[in-house]
């Protein structure tokens, strides 16, 4: 591994961590798409900043662009407040307009500006190590490493300082106001941090892939845990993994680094989406199927409970009497047999003592809707686990 390679991976990992932290809160606050809006609408800010500073890594440019990001949020919110359109429409109206202004500004001044919108949208990490920060003749490393490093430092220290406040305002804005923690300040603080991060990162990974780095690790982690601290830690882990893994995929395919980082993130998310133990697609589908069977089981048992006459309890009769379309009656009968709730003697089904007891409890629960009735059944049945 050469030194530029190492530096690229370091920058990528730092960008990923810096994005993952605000990303967690954006996902939890259902504001994930704000990052998309910000990442597009900072373009006019970047262009204006570039005209003034002529340097893509200058702090002034970052500041101007980040202000544009916060303005976007304010614009979206004020449009939403008029009640003329819904929030998502407001987002969808604001950022393309600002982005268009940015594109036109670049196009009108294309001749004397070294800034093209491919670079802004897509970024190029491979060139990052060649733009070096030189302090009094000393080469101290790539500029973007320093830039993202400082942004990460600020983000992390803000996270540690205001963790409690962020947590309460994210999950319960009302309680947070009552405790004297203004949700509005937390909201705009988070928006500012997100803006600064997006602006700092667009140079490395581009405006659209910043969105991936913010949302995807957080969403992946959210499928695996319900604990905020663990979610942040997992997101950071996924971010770093995607950064390093993405670099080597890009190396292998000779393709864009940011593209491969996102692809790695995408595969990671897809894997977790399918196979996450509690909240993954397969687990959910299995649970839903079980619940469907168990509802049928209860219907079946209640039916048996209601009828003492033999012809109503004949196996062949059940199919027509209880109108089961989705779940085959065999599955249900097997499940009941396995749990020793019924006995079958010559095609006639009867409840056992256990089955009778279960049916009574289920009936009581249905009538009273009190949770303690089913406390003991939770271990055996998905249905009662909520």
């Amino acid at each position: 591994m050469t030194s530029p390679q190492l530096e690229i991976q370091l920058i990528a990992a730092i960008v990923a961590i810096a994005c993952a932290i605000p990303g967690v809160f954006l996902v939890l606050r259902k504001m994930a798409l704000i990052s998309d809006a910000i990442s597009h609408s900072i373009l006019p800010g970047i262009v204006a900043g570039f005209f003034i500073t002529q340097d893509l890594n200058s702090p002034l440019l970052i500041l101007l662009a980040a202000i544009t990001g916060v303005i976007t949020v304010i614009l979206v919110e004020s449009i939403q407040k008029t009640g003329l359109v819904k929030e998502d429409t407001a987002i969808g109206l604001v950022f393309p307009a600002l982005f268009s202004i940015g594109v036109i500004l670049i196009a009108k001044n294309a001749n004397d500006v070294h800034l093209d919108i491919d670079a802004v949208l897509l970024g190029e990490l491979a060139f990052a190590p060649f733009d070096r920060l030189i302090i009094s003749g000393m080469d101290v490393g790539p500029k973007s490493l320093w830039l993202m490093g400082s942004i990460l430092l600020i983000t992390v220290s803000l996270l540690f300082l205001f963790f409690k406040e962020l947590k309460v305002s994210t999950f319960d804005a009302g309680l947070s106001s009552a405790l004297g923690i203004s949700p509005v300040i937390m909201h705009y603080g988070l928006m500012s941090v997100s803006s600064v991060t997006v602006v700092g990162a667009f140079d490395a990974v581009g405006a659209i892939l910043v969105v991936a780095l913010m949302i995807a690790p957080a969403a992946t982690a959210y499928l695996l845990t319900s604990d905020l601290k663990r979610m942040i830690a997992l997101s950071i882990g996924f971010g770093i993994f995607a950064a390093i893994g993405g670099y080597w995929v890009a190396h292998l395919l000779d393709a864009s680094i940011s593209g491969s980082m996102t692809t790695v993130l995408g595969l990671l998310f897809l894997g977790v989406y399918l196979f996450a133990p509690q909240k993954g697609l397969l687990a959910v589908l299995y649970r839903q199927k079980q619940q469907r069977t168990e509802v049928s089981l209860i219907t079946f048992l209640l039916h048996l409970n209601n009828h003492s006459e033999e012809n109503e309890r004949h196996l062949n009769h059940l199919n027509e009497h209880i109108n089961w379309q989705k779940v085959r009656s065999k599955t249900v009968v097997d499940l009941a047999l396995k749990n020793n709730m019924i006995t079958i003697e010559g095609q006639i089904v009867s409840l056992t003592a256990k089955g009778n007891d279960f049916t009574q409890r289920a009936l009581e629960y249905i009538l009273t809707n009190k949770d303690e009735r089913i406390e003991t059944m939770k271990d055996d049945f998905f249905l009662f686990r909520g």
Partner: protein
Amino acid sequence: MSLTEYFELLFTDYTLRTITLGTAVLGAICGMLGSFAVLRKQSLLGDAISHAALPGIALAFLITGAKDTNILLLGALVSGLIGTFWIKGMVSKTHLKSDTALGLVLSLFFGFGMLLLTFIQKQPNANQAGLDKYLFGQAATLVEDDVRLMLIVTGISLCILLLFWKEFKILLFDADYTKTLGFNTKFIDVLITFFIVLAIVLGLQTVGVVLMSAMLLAPAAAARQWTNRLSMMILLAAIFGILSGVLGTAISASQNNLSTGPVIVLVATVFVVFSFIFSPGRGLFFREIRFRNNRKDLQLKKTLQFMYGIAKTHDNISHPHAIRILNNFQGFTKKSLQQMEDKEWITINGQQWALTSKGFNEAMNLYNKTHD
């Protein structure tokens, strides 16, 4: 080239005519189908789908090696549809919210598309130039065939719209009721989503991935302000879309270095801003005027109520009183008294006022009326 020159050239110049017609048709179909997207609260679906179409374009190119627009658009359509249904699946099967699902599909698909695009660029058979026109859109690359395709798709979606008008409308406003009526809501839902995705994919070549969402939203959001009728809204949205397309093309053609896509979006945004402010029913300007009028009216009625309280104690309701005794009640001015006299609620004689019988009745029934 000035704007007037442009409109003269419009009828003689082939390229200009094609582009203008193309953007106009695109505006129409986007406005039409965008109305549904806006009303179904799927505004940002357009954004997600246009980004999600990118890997489809790249894969179609990788597989066929051809740059035929129709094949590339077919690829875009397939990957756009996969994106849409994944979003729906994520929202219904996991606890991820729709904003997260949209953002995920948007960025992950786009990132994968970028990977493929850069991979293609490094390939030896490098006739891939032009694939990136789908990123930002180049209306200038529109040819007659593209416009014909757009016209056909617009025609088909118009037919479908008319054929399933009742179903679309009822699903839009009350999905649960639709289900109880026995309609196949899943089918209607898929149908309308399919056409929205189709419109998005058609627009990619003209306005590009990033700005497509505005193309879909802006005409519909503007039209929404002027009417509460679905049919009217769709018609207006289509007109706004056409106007943005034509005006945007005209402005960008009349200047150097102005790409068409962003200008169209800005023109559409101007329509939106104008509608937000000046639409008579919902617009902010008239809303403010109504608000002020109501406040003034309330002031007058409060004064009248106070006068009524005084006049009621006298046998003769028109018994004159000194204006001075109103001083306890702060909410009157010379002007407001004058207005009350204009309404013939009171008569003013020097420093005296007297309630008329009309004013007395008005005040008496102030709280009885259910509506005015």
